[in-house]
């Protein structure tokens, strides 16, 4: 499933980083602890988090993640949006809570 297909399927808002929308997703990772993501997230996963600052994009880019989803209707900082454009990492948003969106995405990737 591509990032753009995921966004469409679950009605995710696309804040920025459109150039990365065609990337193929391998699965997801849920964490609000940045060193946890740094240590354990895998390439091409979507990262679901409530963190909104720009270090999120720095990490997503360093880890080659497919996209970042910000939960609970939280708005990304302006620098986060800017950084997402620069790095080509799609920054998505949802009003859903982590449990709900993670559950929906999990179903997509369950074998």
């Amino acid at each position: 499933m591509k990032v753009v297909e995921l966004a469409e399927k679950f009605g995710l808002e696309i804040f920025s980083g459109n150039v990365g929308l065609q990337k193929e997703i391998s699965g997801g990772y849920v964490s609000d602890l940045l060193s946890d993501v740094m240590g354990f997230a895998l390439e091409n996963q979507v990262w679901i988090t409530l963190q909104t600052h720009q270090n999120v994009i720095a990490i997503a880019s360093l880890k080659d993640l497919a996209a970042v989803i910000i939960v609970k209707g939280l708005q990304p900082d302006p620098e986060t949006v800017k950084h997402s454009e620069e790095e080509g990492i799609p920054l998505l948003g949802t009003d859903m809570e982590t449990f709900e969106i993670a559950g929906k995405i999990y179903k997509e990737f369950e074998i």
Binding site: D32, L33, L34, S35, D36, M38, G39, E43, T49, Q51, H53, Q54, N55, A58, I59, S61, L62, K63, E79
Partner: protein
């Protein structure tokens, strides 16, 4: 001849955190280093860079690209680490509230560094600073 990249890291400046790691990653891709090796280097470099930002005043990161390995030295002036063995334990952190609210301060950085490096040396003097030297073989 080994190529060398140097970066200045400013304590407290979370906006620029990760810049040095990003440049080192680009260089490694250019050099054609294997992807799985690049991933290990990136994790270790980022965590070390971030520790200077989160805990120290300022630091210098030196990356030495050898034919078969990368050697990275991160030296900072800052509070230093009182008990290195304790700091290496997963979950140990002295991060401030502000740093924790950003999602840092899980006490996972140093364990991540240990896990992703082939050689790691840490020296620290309380009230003076900390120096990490790590080697990752390609």
């Amino acid at each position: 001849m080994a190529e060398i990249l140097e970066f200045h890291i400013k304590g407290g400046d979370f906006n620029l955190a990760g810049k040095a790691s990003s440049k080192i990653k680009k260089k490694l891709i250019q050099l054609g280093v294997e992807t799985s090796t690049i991933k290990r280097i990136v994790v270790a470099t980022y965590e070390a860079e971030l520790n200077v930002v989160a805990h120290a005043r300022e630091g210098k990161l030196t990356a030495i690209f050898e034919p078969d390995s990368i050697r990275i030295i991160i030296a900072d002036s800052g509070p230093g680490i009182e008990d290195i063995d304790l700091a290496m334990e997963a979950g140990f952190s002295t991060a401030t509230k502000k740093v924790r609210e950003m999602g840092f301060g899980a006490g996972m950085g140093l364990p991540n560094i240990r896990k992703n490096t082939d050689e790691l040396e840490i020296e620290s003097k309380v009230g003076v600073g900390t120096r990490l030297e790590m080697i990752i073989y390609y």
